[in-house]
């Protein structure tokens, strides 16, 4: 107890020594917000500039809605987060850009349902990065072990990224207390989230990959009529 005690008091003491200016933290906050808003704007604009076909737009809207439903349906058990699984799968099958957009928009749209706040920005970042990283590492996903690690890891990463918002509560940017408080508050949440991801990625990966691939091929292959059969077996 006393060793731990000492360590913590050392840490906080050095932390306090550095900053005592509230202006500094306010500038940080403004910069952080501007940076995030700029980042999202840039990525969204990049997507828009490609002049995506209607099918791609609808697809992203549906996937976003599915992920949001996956989150809202289980709002009573907040840690069991089906949205993350869907976002990861979108990244794997449709690519990093789509992964990022679906992730970010899922956070935004659930924000519209569950209440907007500054935390939505960080959820957008976390989920966006989750989808994008799944897109980057898509080729590795056929390995079960990798999927488990990826899912677990993102349970925690999601928690940590959204907890950056802790900076908002502290008058001084490097104050450690709120951060520790947040992490303690969130450890069980993050763990459940990670385990859910991992389990779903193990159990449902193949099915969802097939399903999304079918949708991808069918959407982007153009105007084939529904009355005509197109066999798209993998």
């Amino acid at each position: 107890m006393s060793a731990m005690d000492q360590m913590l008091s050392n840490m906080t003491a050095s932390g306090n020594g550095i900053v005592n200016s509230q202006l500094f933290s306010i500038t940080m906050i403004i910069f952080l917000i501007l940076f995030l808003v700029g980042l999202f704007y840039a990525i969204f604009k990049m997507y828009e500039q490609k002049k995506p076909p209607v099918e791609s737009i609808v697809l992203i809207a549906v996937l976003t809605a599915l992920a949001t439903v996956g989150r809202i349906i289980l709002m009573s058990i907040p840690a069991v987060n089906l949205a993350s699984f869907i976002i990861i799968m979108v990244g794997v099958v449709f690519g990093k850009e789509e992964g990022f957009i679906v992730g970010a928009l899922t956070a935004f749209v659930s924000g519209l349902f569950m209440g907007m706040g500054y935390w939505v920005l960080f959820q957008m970042l976390a989920w966006g990065l989750m989808g994008a990283s799944a897109g980057f590492l898509a080729s590795r996903f056929d390995n079960v072990g990798f999927r488990i690690v990826f899912g677990l890891l993102w349970g925690f990463l999601y928690g940590w990224i959204t907890d950056i918002s802790a900076i908002f509560y502290s008058g001084t940017a490097l104050e450690i207390t709120p951060i520790i408080a947040l992490y303690l508050n969130g450890v069980s949440y993050d763990l459940t989230h990670g385990v859910t991801n991992a389990v779903l990625l193990v159990v449902l990966y193949d099915w969802f990959k097939k399903m999304f691939t079918r949708a991808k091929v069918k959407y982007l292959s153009g105007n084939q009529s529904e009355s005509e059969s197109i066999s798209l077996s993998d």
Binding site: I29, Y47, V69, Y169, T177, A181, L204, W207, F208
Partner: protein, 332 residues
């Protein structure tokens, strides 16, 4: 508010400044004033269920901050010894409380924002810059209840027990076990849901009754999810066609909504500009902020009756004024 319309961009500016103020001010008089006025505003606007949800998440967090801060943070001039040489500081307690209050204020400000600006107004601001993304958001909002109702139907179907329905309760309950043991496990043949990773570890896991139950639950959930997802993806192909048929992408989009700057907007902007100007001058002079570490420099006798405090109050009043005025108008 029905009887006054304020441009969404003005709202956005106003609330953004409010959030910043919530972070900046640390003088207890200012903080408490802020809290009281925002509470008044929220109670006038009506307390939403979202707010209750968010509060549920944040109350434990703020309690945690209040407890943890003094335990972890030992700086501060005024020490309070709890036993032998274990102490907490008066500053750390004060800081924890102020921090929690700031957090509460921010949440309340956002909650009030959600009441003032509906999503259509918010999207209106985006749609000029990001027409496709805001279209996606509108579509997602339309799909969510649809997908939700589909999920409910799929889930209902899952309740159907094809075999071995509970029969006439009085005379049933015999030899059910023997039938069960012979029965093939459907999931074993389910190529969609993978649970047959052969390893001792997995077998061990499966032999645990509770884990087996969780796995079963997860499978059911997975199946419901899978059917809902593939069904929705399939149906949305028609949505794309219907959009094309109605000329989406034919030319640059316009909007049926238009928000014009009105007198109320100009008045509000003027008010914001003046009060914020005064407040900033005050902030530069140090009014509204206190130093907590290393030694708290606040005393309750320093009453903040000055022009800056007044400007701060005026800054927070306009929405409250409009809400009250609206009530009066309705009553007549």
């Amino acid at each position: 508010m029905e009887l006054t319309s304020i441009h969404p961009a003005v709202y956005l500016l106003y609330y953004f400044i409010m959030v910043l103020f919530a972070f900046i001010f640390s003088d207890p008089y200012f903080v408490v004033t802020f809290l009281v006025l925002i509470l008044v505003l929220i109670s006038l606007q009506g307390i939403s269920s979202e707010l209750k949800n968010i509060m549920k998440l944040f109350i434990p967090l703020s309690i945690l901050i209040m407890i943890l801060n003094p335990l972890l943070n030992r700086t501060g001039a005024h020490k309070i010894y709890l036993w032998s040489n274990f102490f907490i500081t008066y500053e750390a307690i004060a800081y924890g409380i102020l921090m929690s209050l700031a957090l509460l204020i921010v949440i309340l400000v956002f909650s009030s924002y959600n009441r003032s600006v509906n999503y259509q107004e918010m999207l209106y601001i985006f749609s000029k810059k990001l027409p496709i993304i805001s279209m996606i958001i509108v579509m997602a909002l339309r799909f969510i209840p649809l997908i939700n109702s589909r999920a409910i139907e799929v889930q209902k179907l899952n309740n159907l027990k094809v075999n071995g329905i509970d029969f006439d309760d009085e005379e049933s309950d015999e030899t059910d076990g023997s039938v069960d043991s012979k029965k093939l496990d459907v999931d074993e043949f389910n190529s969609n849901i993978n649970t047959d990773y052969n390893s001792k570890f997995v077998d061990k896991l499966k032999s645990n009754k509770r884990i087996a139950a969780i796995i079963k639950e997860a499978k059911t959930l997975g199946k419901i999810m899978g059917i809902t997802v593939s069904w929705s993806l399939e149906e949305s192909m028609f949505t794309a066609k219907s959009m094309k048929a109605r000329g989406y992408n034919a030319t640059e989009r316009t909007s049926y909504l238009s928000y014009k700057f009105g007198n109320a907007d100009y008045a509000l902007i003027m008010l914001i500009a003046i009060t914020v100007g005064i407040i900033i001058v005050g902030l530069l002079k140090g009014v509204g902020m206190i130093n907590i570490y290393p030694s708290i420099d606040f005393s309750f006798s320093n009453l903040p009756f000055n022009i800056y405090y007044l400007a701060f109050i005026v800054f927070l009043l306009p929405l409250i004024y409009l809400e009250i005025k609206e009530r009066v108008l309705w009553r007549n």
